[in-house]
């Protein structure tokens, strides 16, 4: 712990140096190519007071949240289903590997073709992206469910639903948290790409708009906003992890 505390000044120094280099590079290369951190901060403030920052954050954030929720539920469900039916599991293995080899972001054209522009293809993309990630982690996590615990609960008269609720899901929870931590940046990436191509609001849309009119400050502003979303979500997940995993199962 103390060794960790000693490093904080270095961390802050690192970030400060980074900002300084950024500013210098901006001055050297020119405003168009690399607007400095001061300008970006200014734009952030302007957009915030104009209300458009919040509007964009809300649009993208909502998309990410809903898609992550859907993808997580489906991913866990699929993992449970395959673990319960080993024959089906074995049968589907190569198909799942194949599906995981397709970059989900590559599905955007197909989804846009089928569902047009609007929320549906964007949501579907995020759901699919999160689904496979959470599925893989939940699938691995289900092996760790303690069979002896299940047997003991069965002798107590637990039904299958009760077994799931009281033993399987709590065992799975740390894995779900890890899955969310991994999937979140992907979900946001997917949301951004979907917004590049077919949205009228959102951070992704803002970035692409700025690019089209060659507004480099705008592009940087959008990138900063996107990074902010990820940082907030990471913090939320870290908090959730600390609050819900106070007890240490012997895994």
């Amino acid at each position: 712990m103390t060794a960790d505390c000693r490093l904080w000044p270095s961390r802050i120094a690192g970030l400060a140096i980074f900002l300084a280099c950024w500013q210098v590079a901006g001055l050297v290369v020119g405003d168009y190519w690399m607007p400095g951190p001061a300008q970006v901060a200014q734009r952030l403030w302007a957009e915030l007071t104009a209300g458009s920052l919040l509007r964009d954050l809300w649009a993208t954030g909502r998309l990410v949240l809903m898609g992550t929720l859907g993808g997580t539920v489906l991913g866990i469900g699929l993992a449970c289903l395959l673990r319960l039916l080993p024959r089906l599991d074995s049968m589907l293995q190569p198909f799942i590997t194949a599906l995981m080899s397709v970059p989900k972001l590559g599905l955007v054209p197909l989804l846009v073709l089928w569902f047009g522009t609007g929320l549906a293809p964007q949501l579907l993309l995020v759901v699919l992206t999160v689904l496979f990630i959470v599925f893989a982690i939940a699938y691995a996590g289900l092996i760790t469910v303690n069979r002896q615990l299940l047997m003991t609960a069965r002798v107590f008269g637990a039904s299958a639903l009760q077994l799931t609720r009281f033993i399987v899901l709590p065992t799975l929870w740390p894995f779900v948290l890890t899955g969310l931590e991994v999937a979140l940046p992907w979900a946001l990436s997917a949301a951004l790409v979907a917004e590049f191509l077919s949205a009228k609001v959102g951070v992704g849309h803002a970035i692409d708009q700025a690019r089209q009119v060659r507004d480099s400050v705008g592009v940087f502003y959008g990138i900063a906003a996107a990074t902010a979303i990820v940082l907030v979500c990471n913090a939320a997940l870290a908090l959730a992890r600390r609050l819900t995993l106070k007890i240490q199962p012997e895994h």
């Binding site: 303690n146 002896q148 615990l149 047997m151 003991t152 609960a153 069965r154 002798v155 107590f156 008269g157 637990a158 039904s159 009760q162 009281f166 033993i167 709590p170 007890i247 240490q248 199962p249 012997e250």
Partner: protein
């Protein structure tokens, strides 16, 4: 041995052999029980246990012994109904609860408790929540049940630990919590599969004494599997030895050492040596499966 003891031993043997009716009548009976598994690739099924006939009276403490692999744990699983027998029947209170062709229905009557070697407490719940777990499965626990649970917690000596998590308890304490949890829904039969096996000698002795003390308060019917002959003799009214491959009941021996017993000093009892030799010879003479 005195004439009286010889006569009593003969009676015991006849009772156990089934020629005299069991006193008191059997709560749990196994009739011609057999368990087999189909090995992948093997032409015939592999029989773990065959022709097990066993009758356990209400309130009787029976220990089951046998070499590793002799099928002791499998036997308990069948009685707990987590495993269906291949032949024969399990009869409980004169009703057939498990038999070949019957689907395994564990816990459907909540009449059986099962304590395993691993304490199997839910790591993400406190001791108190763990204790109430079997009750919460069938709805909200009534005030009477809550009171009963509180009493149990005291009786196992964990009164101040209700809000702790299992990982904060020692092995022996977790074992006691598991025991209390099993007793919380008052099952008439309690199965115990080498519950004290993973503990150090001192904790084990303590828990054996605690178990006997609990048993004196609430006379459950107990089937207790163990490797330890000392433990078997110290705790039991009757010792059953399974041996052979497939496993059969090779020896049944009634232990008439008076209670209350001190498990640590059981070797001082007068009949101890005879019991020990009989059991050990039985375990030794049959080759390992």
């Amino acid at each position: 041995m005195a004439i009286g003891t010889i006569a009593r031993q003969r009676d015991d043997d006849r009772q156990l052999a089934g020629t005299l009716p069991l006193h008191p009548p059997a709560l749990l009976a196994l009739r011609s029980l057999g368990i087999s598994f189909a090995d992948a690739g093997a032409p015939e099924r592999r029989w773990i246990l065959k022709d097990i006939d066993l009758a356990v009276a209400e309130g009787e403490f029976v220990t089951v012994m046998g070499a590793s692999g002799a099928g002791k744990s499998t036997l308990l699983s069948v009685i707990a109904q987590t495993l269906a027998p291949s032949t024969g029947q399990v009869v409980f209170k004169d009703q057939v609860v498990a038999g070949a062709g019957h689907e395994a229905q564990p816990g459907c009557h909540r009449q059986i408790g099962f304590v395993t070697q691993d304490d199997n407490l839910l790591p993400w719940r406190t001791v108190w929540q763990n204790l109430l777990f079997p009750l919460t499965l069938s709805g909200k626990p009534s005030p009477a049940q809550l009171e009963h649970a509180r009493q149990l917690l005291e009786q196992v000596g964990l009164a101040g630990w209700a809000d702790h998590y299992p990982h904060q308890l020692s092995g022996g304490m977790r074992k006691r919590a598991a025991l209390a949890r099993t007793l919380v829904y008052d099952p008439p039969v309690v199965l115990m599969d080498e519950p004290f096996g993973a503990l150090d000698a001192e904790t084990r002795a303590q828990l054996q004494a605690d178990l006997l003390r609990l048993w004196e308060i609430r006379r459950k019917t107990i089937l207790f599997v163990t490797h330890d002959i000392n433990e078997a003799i110290a705790l039991a009214d009757r010792v059953v030895v399974l041996a052979g491959s497939p496993g059969r009941v090779e020896l049944q021996r009634r232990i008439r050492i008076p209670r209350p017993r001190d498990p640590e000093l059981i070797f001082k009892a007068p009949d101890f040596a005879a019991h020990y030799d009989a059991i050990r010879n039985c375990l030794r003479k049959v080759p390992h499966p």
